[in-house]
Amino acid sequence: MAEPRPVLEMTGIVKEFPGVRALSGVDFRLFPGEIHALMGENGAGKSTLIKVLTGVYSLDGGTVTLDGKSVHIGSPLQAQQAGISTVYQEVNLCPNLSVAENIFIGREPTRGGRIQWKRMRKEAAELVDRLGLDIDVTAPLSSYPLAVQQLVAIVRSVGTGDSDGEGSGTKVLVLDEPTSSLDRDEVLELFRLMRRLRDEGVAILFVSHFLDQIYEICDRMTVLRNGTLVGEHMVRDLDQVGLIELMIGKALDQLEELHEHQLRSDVGETLLEAEGLGRAGGIAPFDLEIKKGEVIGLAGLLGSGRTELARLLFGADQPDSGKVTIGGKQVSMSAPNDAIGAGVAFCSENRKTEGLVPDLTVRENIILALQAARGWTRPIPAAQRDELVAKYIKALDIRPANPEARVGQLSGGNQQKVLLARWLITQPQLLILDEPTRGIDIGAKAEIQKLVVSLSEDGMAVLYIAAELEEVLRLSHTIGVLRDRKLVARLTNGPEITTSKILETIASGEHQ
C-alpha cells in the first residue's frame, strides 16, 4: 500500500544524554497516507525520537530527509514550517480563546493590521467542516471537553500551511498519546479524523499505549527497544504476542543470586480488600485482595493502568467507585492521609516530582513521612531520629552515607533508597513500589529486590510494579495483569507461570 518514496526518512539517528545513549542509530520511515504506530516500553527511545523529529532535541548523529530533501530541524517552529506538526496528550492551546482563534492565532487574516473576524470565523468553520467535524468555532475552547480540544489542536496543526500558501501544508502529523484520557466514543471520533487526514495523504505517526487501538487504526508500526530499532512491520503481519515480545524482549538476567530464592508459599491472612475500586479515565473498577507477607506484582505495558491502580490504593487520586477495607476496617481513601493512617506506604515512580523534596537533606527526607504522621508538635527526638536515619542509611547502603547531604545531589538509585527508607521507618503494613528500579544501576536494583523479599518474609505486604516481567515474576506470589486500563487477570505464581504466559495474558486480555 505504501508509495515508493517515503515522505519522511530518518537514518542512523543518534541522541546522547550525559551518561546515556537514548537512541543509537535508529532508522525510521514514514510514507504519505499511512498511520504508523511507534511502539516501545519505558526507555525504548520513543519519546526521544519524537522530540528529535519535532525539533525539541537536536540530534547528535544521523540524517533527516523530508520529501527527498535533507532537512535540519532546530526548533518546534522550524518543524512546523517544514510541515511536521505535533499534537500532544496535553492540549497545547489557549482554553480562554475561541475555537476559531485557536486555529488561527499567530496568522489571523488581517487587513491593514485589523483582524478580519468574519473572515477568520468563516475560514475556521470551513476548515472544521472540511474535516467533517461539528464544532461551533465561535465558542470558547474551554467549553468543549478535552477530546474536542484535541481535535481542534489537530485542525490547527493541519491548517497551519494553508493560509501561508505553502501548498499541501502539513505532511507529517505526530500524535503523541492523544487517546490516554479519552473515552471510547471520543476515540472513535479521533480515529475518523485520522482516517480522513490519511486519505488526504497526510502521514500520521501515532503513539498509544492501547494495543487494541494500534491494531484498529494503524497500517504499519516501528518497534524500538533500548534505543535501537527492533523491527518495522505491517500491523497485519504481526500478532499481539509477537509485538509484546519485540517490545519487552528477553532481557538478560544479571541478578543470578535471586534465582536461588524460593518464594515463601505460606502468606498470611487478608490485609487489604478492594471492591469495585475505580476511577474514570484512570482505571476500570477492579477487585483486589492483598494478604500479609504477600508480594503482588503488577504486570502490564506502560499506560496499562498500573500506576493508576496503585494511586487509588493510596488515596493519591480519589476513586469514583468502590471501597477499600484494610485489616477489617473500611478506609475512606479520600486523601493519602487516610491510607497512611491505615498503614499503607507509596513510593511514586516520579521520584523527583512526587517523592523527594530536593532542597532538603537526606535525613529530613527520610523522617518526613514519620514526622508528618506524628504532627508538627511532636518532633522525633534528635537522638532517636539520628539513630533511625543512621540505621537505614546503613541498612540500605545509601551513599554518600551523610545524612546532611542534599537529596537532590544523590544518584537515582540512592534517591530511591532514601524514599524507601522514608516509608520503612513508618513500618507500614502494605508497601506500594511503583517502578522502584527504573533508571537506577544494576547493583542498586538487586539490593532493592532483595529488600522486597526480606520485607515480605517479615510479614509486610508489597505491591510491586515493574516494567520488566522477569522482575515481577521473580518476586511476586501473585501477579495482577493489566491491559488497557483494566485488571484483566490475577495469576498465582508457580512453575507453570512464565513470562510468555504473562505475555499471552496481556496480549489476549484475558485469563487463559
Partner: protein, 369 residues
C-alpha cells in the same frame, strides 16, 4: 602570587559556603562604609543609664521590620506571600491606641494589657482570613492578601476616626520607646520573638514541614502532611508578628496613624527575606538570614543618612539593591553574565543550576536496562 595552603582554602570555602555568609558580608561592608564619615560609628556611649550609639539605634529602628520579616519568612517558605502586613500593623496600632485613649487611667497596667490583647487578636484574625483564602479557597497568595492590604488601612482609619490618636501611657511607651537593662526594650521584644520563632520552627517539626510544603507541594501531600493547616498557621503567625510590630510602632510614637503606620513595610519585609537568602519560590528558609537582611535594610537607611547623601535617595538605593539581589538569584542571569563558572562567591549557588537539566533529563529518558 603565593598559593594559600589547602587548609585555609577549605576553611575559606566552608565559610563562604555558609548560607549566612553573603548577607553578613554585605552588612559588615555597609557598616564599615560609615567609619570614614563617622569615625566613632561603632562607639557606644552610656548616658543616663541608657546605651546610645549608631549600632543600638540601627537595631532599635529596625525592630518592627525584623518582626514583620520574621513572620514573612515562614509565609514565603511555604511558597506564599503576605501583602497585608502593613495594613495589619496599622489596624493593631489603631485598635490598641484607641482602647487605651478611652481609658480613664492610661497608665493602668490591666487596661494596657487588655488593649494590646485586643490589637493582637485582631491581627491574628486577619491572618486567619488570609490563611483561609489561601489554604481553603485555593486563591493565589498575592491576590488573597491584597484584599486586606486594600481594605485594612480603611479599617484602621475607621477605628481612629481618621485622626491620629495620641496617647499618654507610660507602660505602653515601654514597648517601642522605653529602656530596660540599659538597652531599648524593643530589642528584648525582638529577641524574644526571634527566639520563639526559632524554637517553634526548629525545636518542633514545624520548620521541616513548612520547608517540605514549600519545597515540593505534591510530594508533601503524598507523605501525608496536612499542608492546609500548616499554611493557615503560618499566615496567622505572620499576622501576629505584624501585630507586635504594630504595637511597637504606635508605642514608639505614642500615636496611631491609620494612614501611615507601617506603610510599605510589607515590601521592605519581603526584601529582607530575599536578602536573607530565602527563595521567593519557597522551601528552605533562614530566620537568621532574615534578621540580617532586615538589619542590612536599616543600616542602608542609616548609612545614607550618615554619609551625607540626601536621605531622599534612600528609595533609589533600595530599588538598586532589590534588582541586584534578584538578578543574582536568577539562574538565567547568572548563566548569561557569568557563564558556567560564576564568580567565586556565586559558584556555590550557580553550581546546581547547570546540573539540574541533566539530572532532570535522566528520568525523562526512561532508562531501563
Amino acid at each position: 602570587m603565593s598559593t594559600p595552603s589547602v587548609a585555609t582554602t577549605s576553611r575559606w570555602r566552608a565559610l563562604t559556603h555558609h548560607n549566612l555568609f553573603w548577607p553578613v558580608a554585605v552588612l559588615i561592608a555597609l557598616l564599615l562604609v560609615n567609619v570614614p564619615f563617622t569615625p566613632d560609628f561603632f562607639a557606644i556611649k552610656m548616658t543616663d543609664g541608657h546605651l546610645y550609639g549608631s549600632l543600638v539605634s540601627i537595631v532599635l529602628f529596625g525592630s518592627p521590620l525584623i518582626l514583620v520579616a520574621v513572620g514573612m519568612t515562614l509565609v514565603i517558605a511555604t511558597g506564599g506571600i503576605d501583602l497585608s502586613v502593613g495594613a495589619v500593623v496599622a489596624i493593631t496600632g489603631a485598635l490598641t491606641c484607641s482602647y487605651i485613649s478611652d481609658q480613664a487611667d492610661q497608665n493602668a497596667l490591666a487596661g494596657v494589657f487588655l488593649a494590646m490583647g485586643i490589637g493582637l487578636v485582631a491581627a491574628v484574625v486577619c491572618g486567619l482570613w488570609n490563611g483561609f483564602l489561601v489554604a481553603r479557597m485555593g486563591i493565589q497568595p498575592i491576590i488573597a492578601t491584597l484584599i486586606i492590604m486594600v481594605a485594612g488601612r480603611g479599617v484602621a482609619q475607621l477605628i481612629t476616626d481618621g485622626q491620629i490618636i495620641t496617647i499618654n501611657s507610660e507602660p505602653y511607651k515601654l514597648i517601642g520607646g522605653g529602656y530596660w537593662l540599659t538597652l531599648p526594650f524593643s530589642i528584648f521584644v525582638v529577641a524574644a520573638v526571634v527566639a520563639v520563632t526559632v524554637a517553634l520552627t526548629r525545636r518542633t517539626a514545624l520548620g521541616l514541614l513548612v520547608e517540605s510544603v514549600g519545597g515540593n507541594a505534591e510530594a508533601s501531600r503524598l507523605v501525608g502532611i496536612r499542608s492546609r493547616r500548616i499554611k493557615i498557621m503560618v499566615y496567622m503567625f505572620c499576622a501576629l508578628c505584624a501585630g507586635i510590630a504594630g504595637l511597637m510602632i504606635s508605642s514608639n510614637t505614642s500615636a496611631a496613624d491609620g494612614n501611615n503606620a507601617g506603610l510599605w513595610i510589607e515590601l521592605d519585609a519581603i526584601l529582607a527575606v530575599v536578602i536573607g537568602g530565602t527563595s521567593l519560590l519557597g522551601g528552605r528558609f533562614s530566620i537568621g538570614g532574615t534578621v540580617v537582611g532586615a538589619l542590612v535594610i536599616q543600616t542602608l537607611t542609616t548609612t545614607i543618612y550618615t554619609i551625607g547623601v540626601p536621605t531622599q535617595t534612600n528609595l533609589v538605593f533600595k530599588a538598586v539593591v532589590v534588582i541586584i539581589v534578584c538578578l543574582l538569584q536568577s539562574p538565567k542571569f547568572r548563566a548569561k553574565v557569568f557563564g558556567a563558572n560564576g564568580p567565586k562567591g556565586l559558584r556555590r549557588a550557580a553550581a546546581p543550576a547547570p546540573a539540574t537539566p541533566a539530572a532532570d533529563a535522566a528520568p525523562k529518558m526512561e532508562v531501563s536496562r
